[in-house]
């Protein structure tokens, strides 16, 4: 077990790449993670999140580049020698051990004394609300409880880094919500670096902390979550950080308006300062709603292609000038497929991107 230093413990990836055969799984990447930070790796399936996490943990070796931790070069140090824990999407527990023994196993391997093991196991079990299940086997537990056991086992070791690879993906959505609410609490007050991989932007937003958006093996942007969300560096980052997908269109900006084909939309506040020209605009789905949000909102309509209801929100995909745009609004608003949807666009939050996909300042 490592002791704790007094200076901030930084974990650094320096120009890491990962190639398997002819395929590049991770393009040249550099990243600095601070001690005690919560970092989300956000990206679609096959974006490279798992590959990156395996490199961070020491399960896989980078093809080139270095990994540094607390001022030491740990590239090539295998995972058994590093102080890391991992939690997987499939609830991985030892099937013939009880919950208690599962949680205790890393401590037993480390050779700690029995009373110390007992104390730490019970402490973590209490945190994860597993105390009534300590004697049971994993196959007697529900999915959520099994995953809690896996998380407890990761936490009890007091690792320097905890990596979670889409740990909630196999749970019912309500359980997922509950566990997600509790997750920050498990890591509060610990010094470890948490890296959490997910495909859902909402999870990244809920956790706060830092987020790295990944796309096709590249980290397109890294920073404080709220900043990245509000000010994406480029169109790719904006797309990764959007579910349902962000609405885009190529437009001509002239003065106070943008033109999408024949459609004219007024430009909100700060965006008026952007020079005229051709741009790609990005409008988030929740800025298109069935009711008028404010006086400047523009009216648009389109034929409904898909209508979805999800509990407390409604989404409708509609056809606009040959493209499919999405609107997301609170409440239940059923739409008939094939009918014309009349919607309002709040233009105050439009993002502008130049033709190289880089964001232009002044949009927000």
């Amino acid at each position: 077990m490592h002791g704790f230093g007094t200076r901030a413990m930084a974990f650094e990836l320096r120009s890491i790449t990962k190639r398997v055969g002819a395929e590049v799984h991770v393009h040249e990447t550099s990243l600095v993670l601070e001690e005690g930070s919560f970092n989300t790796l956000l990206g679609p399936t096959l974006a490279g999140k798992t590959s990156l996490m395996q490199l961070m943990a020491g399960i896989a070796r980078p093809t080139s580049g270095e990994i540094w931790f607390r001022g030491e070069n740990v590239t090539g140090v295998p995972v058994q020698k590093r102080n890391v824990s991992m939690v997987y999407q499939q609830f991985i527990n030892y099937p013939n051990f009880s919950v208690y023994e599962n949680i205790a196993s890393p401590l037993r391997v480390a050779g700690l004394a029995k009373p110390e093991i007992d104390r730490r196991v019970r402490e973590v079990a209490e945190l994860l609300r597993l105390t009534p299940m300590l004697k049971r086997r994993p196959n007697e537990l529900s999915g959520g409880q099994q995953q809690r056991t896996a998380i407890a086992r990761a936490l009890v070791k007091d690792s320097d880094m905890v990596l979670l690879d889409e740990p909630l993906a196999n749970l019912d959505y309500k359980l997922r919500e509950e566990l997600r609410d509790e997750l920050p609490r498990f890591f509060a007050g610990r010094n470890c670096i948490v890296v959490y991989a997910t495909t859902e932007p909402t999870e990244a937003l809920l956790f706060g902390g830092n987020t790295a958006t990944l796309h096709a093996g590249r980290i397109t942007q890294f920073g404080r979550t709220a900043d990245i969300y509000r000010h994406p560096a480029d169109l790719v980052s904006a797309r990764v950080f959007s579910d349902p997908p962000i609405n885009t269109a190529e437009v001509e900006k002239r003065g106070d308006e943008v033109l999408i084909g024949e459609l004219r939309l007024p430009v909100g506040g700060a965006a008026r300062g952007i020079p005229d020209g051709t741009y790609i605009i990005g409008i988030r789905p929740h800025h298109i709603t069935p009711s008028k949000p404010n006086a400047e909102a523009a009216a648009i309509e389109g034929t409904v292609v898909i209508a979805e209801l999800s509990g407390s929100e409604s989404a409708v995909h509609f056809d606009l000038n040959g493209q499919t745009w999405v609107s997301q609004s609170p409440g239940i608003h059923p739409f008939e497929v094939g009918s014309i949807a009349r919607l309002y666009v709040d233009m105050n939050h439009t993002l502008f991107f130049d033709l190289d996909d880089r964001r232009v300042e002044g949009g927000e």
């Binding site: 020491g58 399960i59 896989a60 070796r61 090539g76 295998p78």
Partner: protein, 287 residues
């Protein structure tokens, strides 16, 4: 995923490597050595190149042993594989009888092979054996020590009794792993039992059947103990299969050279046939 290599793993493998070296590779090399030399006794060896190989491949005796072997293996496969599959299909998959059936099926496999041979030897005796006496009572003239056909019949029967269980257990394991949903879907589709077998069970058993056939092929091609104890290779030559012929040559006549050559040819034949079988059964997977 590119795993970091763990050098310590080699130490774990070392004892096995040594064991294999002593028990297999070194004796194999010795055989190869003998097969290319000629000896006139008293440890005098002369290089003879491919002479023994030519002699063996031209020998009448070798050819007849080979044909007998191929015939035997063919009959065995044709009987044991469908029979084993049929029994596996009939065995219950859930409930209290499962363990009973499994134990019954495992029993023949647990008996030492020479005991199997001895059992059938006595049981098939025409005067005091249950089988022999019974068959004769039914009107057949049955004496496996005198009649080649009866000898074959007994040998085949013994092998089927002894080894079908292996096929049964393998197929059973394969059947049990088919998820219920397939059977439910077949019910909903109003499929008849034959269609369920042909379209669900058989395709899903493909790998298991390949292994079963391969195992039975290799084992039956090398059969020795049970047959020797049962018939000694007789009457005459009628049940002298390849292994038995090989041992007779090597030990009976102390012709190490030809025996060694025959072993190698034998080994290569099995390798060739196994490879052919395997490729044939697996060719669909190449897609």
């Amino acid at each position: 995923m590119n795993k970091l290599t763990n050098q310590r793993a080699w130490w774990f493998v070392l004892p096995v490597v040594l064991l294999v070296a002593f028990n297999a590779i070194i004796p194999l090399m010795t055989v190869v050595n003998y097969s290319v030399q000629e000896s006139f006794g008293e440890n005098m060896f002369f290089w003879s190149g491919v002479r023994w190989f030519e002699e063996v491949l031209r020998s009448e005796r070798f050819h007849s042993a080979l044909w007998r072997q191929i015939l035997f293996t063919g009959i065995i496969l044709v009987i044991e594989v469908p029979l084993g599959l049929a029994i596996a299909l009939a065995m219950p998959r859930k409930g209290p009888w499962v363990s009973v059936c499994l134990v019954l099926m495992a029993l023949p496999l647990l008996i030492p092979w020479n005991v199997v041979g001895a059992m059938w030897n006595i049981m098939a005796l025409p005067d005091i054996g249950l089988l022999g006496r019974g068959l004769n009572a039914l009107g057949f003239t049955y004496n496996y020590t005198r009649q080649p056909f009866a000898a074959w019949f007994t040998v085949v029967l013994m092998d089927v009794w002894h080894w079908t269980s292996l096929v049964v257990l393998l197929c059973y394991a394969g059947l049990v792993s088919i998820p219920d949903a397939y059977y439910q879907a077949a019910k909903i589709d109003a499929a008849r039992p034959w269609a369920v077998f042909r379209y669900i069970q058989l395709p899903k058993l493909k790998y298991v059947l390949t292994i079963a056939i391969l195992l039975r092929f290799m084992d039956s091609f090398m059969i020795y103990t049970e047959v020797v104890v049962l018939t000694g290779g007789g009457p005459g030559n009628s049940t002298t299969f390849l292994s038995i012929d090989l041992v007779k040559t090597a030990l009976g006549q102390f012709d190490l050279g030809p025996a060694a050559a025959m072993s190698l040819i034998y080994f290569l034949i099995i390798l060739l046939f196994s490879w052919l079988f395997y490729t044939l059964m697996m060719r669909n997977e190449a897609r």
